[in-house]
Symmetry: D2
């Protein structure tokens, strides 16, 4: 942290700030400049809170310098993390394509879609059994029945399954059936859920909060890693902005930023970002071109009858074409 003093700060005020820093068990080094003095805080063992110093007399501003996360940082682990899920590896250089419906609606629906996903070259299957819905009156998912259907999908098509966990109460159940446990955007800072996920044996798929900074998102992953689970997959799914032509704004620059700051793999979900099918397809190609570690797409055999998110779900034939485009883009990135 760097503390910038006001131009008119007195020598006494500078000394008092130094004492306040030392009271927190750190070293303070004053740096006299042309106009004013700044004070660098060094050798801090724990995260410092800029608010501790910001309003001391004579202080103009306290500026954090180092990042607050540790375990998730690439400085801690320079090579990227690879996560094994069944016979799929996430983070090994090959893009992972995860696809399926928003919600599992029936066995026949899930099986039909899974068949299309498998045939088009998808690597994993997604589908919600517990659905977080804005309205209490909307379809909330099939619950355990949905999880059982997912287990059948895995068996039948050899596709590992990703599904969302919504609370502590159903965590054990989801953990039993899923290959990868998803924590949704609305739960990104549900810290109790993060801790529980940190104790799980399965990899965790952590969606970015709707208005989370990359730092906050990585700190949420830090919660999981701090409990002992290092298999965290990050998922960019768009953030909330003033823009109204799409459901959210896909923040693709988060991909290179996360890849520089952290060793964890990052996947892009263009379906929830766009919210409309005709935007999903070009955005999915963009996600491939930005070198994400994978892509998650909503696909439905009859989108116009889907119980949720139909308008953003691709038709199977659209998905099939998209997969070929993604693989071709992936090849370009390797060849050049």
């Amino acid at each position: 942290m760097l503390i910038v003093m006001r131009q008119d700060a007195s020598q006494k005020q500078v000394e008092d700030v130094i004492k306040a820093v030392e009271a927190r068990d750190c070293k303070a080094r004053p740096i006299p400049g042309g106009d004013r003095v700044s004070i660098a805080i060094l050798f801090n063992k724990q995260a410092l809170d800029e608010t501790w110093f910001q309003e001391l007399p004579g202080v103009k501003q306290a500026i954090p310098v180092t990042r607050p996360y540790k375990l998730v940082s690439r400085e801690t682990r320079p090579e990227g993390t690879r996560i094994q899920v069944g016979n799929v590896t996430i983070g090994n250089g090959r893009m992972v394509i995860i696809a399926g419906p928003c919600a599992v609606e029936s066995e026949i629906q899930a099986m039909t879609i899974a068949k299309s996903v498998k045939e088009a070259g998808g690597d994993m299957f997604r589908g919600g059994a517990f659905k977080p819905r804005t309205s209490p009156y909307s379809f909330q998912g099939l619950g355990e029945e949905g999880l059982k259907i997912l287990a059948k999908v895995r068996e039948e098509f050899d596709l590992p399954v990703v599904t969302e966990v919504m609370d502590l109460a159903c965590f054990d159940m989801v953990e039993e059936y899923a290959d990868v446990i998803q924590i949704g955007t609305r739960n990104m800072q549900n810290f109790s859920l993060l801790r529980r996920a940190g104790q799980a044996e399965k990899p965790v798929f952590l969606k970015r909060g709707m208005s989370a900074t990359v730092d906050e998102w990585l700190m949420a992953a830090e919660y999981i890693m701090a409990e002992g689970n290092s298999n965290v997959i990050l998922c960019e799914r768009g953030v909330r902005t003033f823009v109204r032509h799409s459901r959210n704004t896909l923040d693709l620059s988060a991909v290179p930023v996360v890849q520089r700051e952290s060793h964890l793999p990052i996947i892009v979900d263009p379906s929830h970002a766009a919210g409309f099918r005709d935007q999903v397809i070009p955005l999915a190609r963009s996600a491939a071109a930005v070198s994400a570690n994978g892509i998650m797409i909503e696909v439905h055999n009859e989108p116009e009858k889907a119980m949720s998110d139909g308008v953003q779900s691709l038709y199977p034939e659209q998905f099939e074409l998209l997969c070929r485009q993604i693989r071709a883009i992936e090849k370009i990135l390797k060849d050049y």
Copy 2:
């Protein structure tokens, strides 16, 4: 809902949309205009999803017309809801002042602050026993010990207490000790927690999510009311924007909007919105002037030593002056 057809939509496409509407058990009324046809959807018994129609052939746009919430709507209950907490009434025209530290740190800290709050004319006491923190390495609250201290505060100073519940696991415990159960901004769409809160006997204090629209916020309250608990207090605490000079941007226009749309009382928390003490004081006065049903303020006897949020906590003497200003503004609003 209103479905707007493209200029070049065929008669057949219009008829197909009408059939799709009727398949959802609604009436469809086509409205031919100068350039194009629109189709009004009438007599819908349940919430419609615009995505069901948006991508049918010939459709340009589907526009939702009525609001998705029911129980929280002022149309359902034109007079405002009054909520009784001990001998304090929220929503009866008198502004309720809720104050206390961010976190309960010790009995002596809580008692000292509570004494100041009571003497300054505060109506209720706030303080966290379970703290949601961005970093897993930050102070996480005293847990049940903190709740016990809050119970002592209530007994000693006759101040009802508001405290946050973070998950299902500690809900019963918080419900036992608290007078009002707070659901924090990060949990506004933790739907499992909302349902549990809907089954509680105590009033619920529902903070607005960091980037929630008023509609989403009211739908979160709808979750609580749908389970049977009508005592919901809304709390505006600032939203995330591009602005960097304050922690969040206080959205005061939400107050008249909520008061028009809903019968639930709304309280303003300028402390979390501002994030800095010198902004909290003027914003608290603003919240009074905007005619909120109450104000929640962080106060600390030694803010510079606080374990969290010290920089936004007022000194007791600042709070005392602020209370007098708030009461004077309240009087103006009644007199004119």
Copy 3:
């Protein structure tokens, strides 16, 4: 500026950064810490660009420390600026109330509204002769005819007038008629216009850009001051956010921030922030309670027939009541 090196930066990389700093005519002071070295840049005579250093080998981040503005800074001029406009002083502790229609539509309209404004205790009159409109097909203002009407208002009611200038072509004309020259939100970074305003004899009313940070806004004022015109009045009018229930989100925390950072007076325009009459009234009271130096309000005698912004314009009797509330709030702020 503070340059933070990577943990693994070599001694050579540190030395190269020091050379790069010295090549910009500044002093570089390395500060070795526990994990990494930082380098403070001192004695810079001009604004530094963090991008000069950010991508040098071994650099993790370059963090600006001091603010980029000079003339507008309160550090340059600790007492606040007072601006005299006719017999009205802005910045002397008394809140200035500026009111009038969005656009001057006719002499009778302007005169009728001005009479109401004067009688209600307004200090200045506002009204557009040149209107920036999103659509080329909307009413664009009366031009010089509008300015002449404003001059009559001033003469008849002894109310100084504020009106907007849209471009260099009409600047001389506006300057001739207006008492205060307004630069609108869409022109906040029209640097040619700012420079011209800096050469004007009249005070300038600088609205905040729709998504401008306070720093950018103060830099726009710096453009005006750098040309020699020190009479700049800042106006907060709401910023663009994800919020949809109001036209913009009024950022009231900008008021204490500007008052701390700069010596220039700051006025609040709740009409454009809210966009709806029933929000304007409570927000206007909030602006008074936050201790702004003044308030600008749209008033119209027949809002439902207004050629622009009718829905946010107050009826004269609403304005009259509001003025009394504002004066009462002002008195409280002085008394306490």
Copy 4:
């Protein structure tokens, strides 16, 4: 427009709204539904302002239905616009690559970079002679000298040049030298400048405003087209959001949305969106994959010495590799 009445609106209020609609020369058709009446407005010849009706007694909401733009709409001109600039065509299916430095700094700098751009397969050259800068103390461009250098670039390398015009005063001069006249993000709603551009003989390159909706952006293009200039090229360059890891957030979904709504070509500028070189490269590939009509990139031979935007400028060898990747992605989009 659709006017939604309150549930409790009286028959008289409905009739008064109908009269208000007819007073605006439109037809009103009431649509009685289950809960409430709505009123459709038909046969409007001009843009309607929802605010005209929104606050009439009994009205709950007025909802705009059709888009406000005409000339720029794809409904007016279903096939896409092609714009010829020298021997380059924009909008014919081939991606146009525009590259060059942020600012023209000297003849040798411009020539050196132009040579790299040409050799790498760039189609057009960009470079600022007049620079809009946040600070009045920053480098403001070489002015006419810069324009003359651009003319030499064109002559020497047969590359059409794009350069920014900042105000009416220098418009004629820029028009004389440039092949394409750029209107920058801060001037997107400088309506006087848009009108002047509408009278120009040269194509106009219209950058999206920093917080402009697509509707506002298209309305800005409508200003240009309404004056007679149909050769407008739109440029997405990132919007302002809460995100801090990039300078702006690139809104790639704007590309398919603009391509659906309008016949005008759209180009993506990842350099200003990202603000950092290591983000520019993947975002540029994304822009190709989203099927934009072209890409604009900042390139500099010595970015670390650039007078502006050095940190976001690519090295020539990075640009050369990027061009090959973009062409390969373009080929995929054609082949599938």
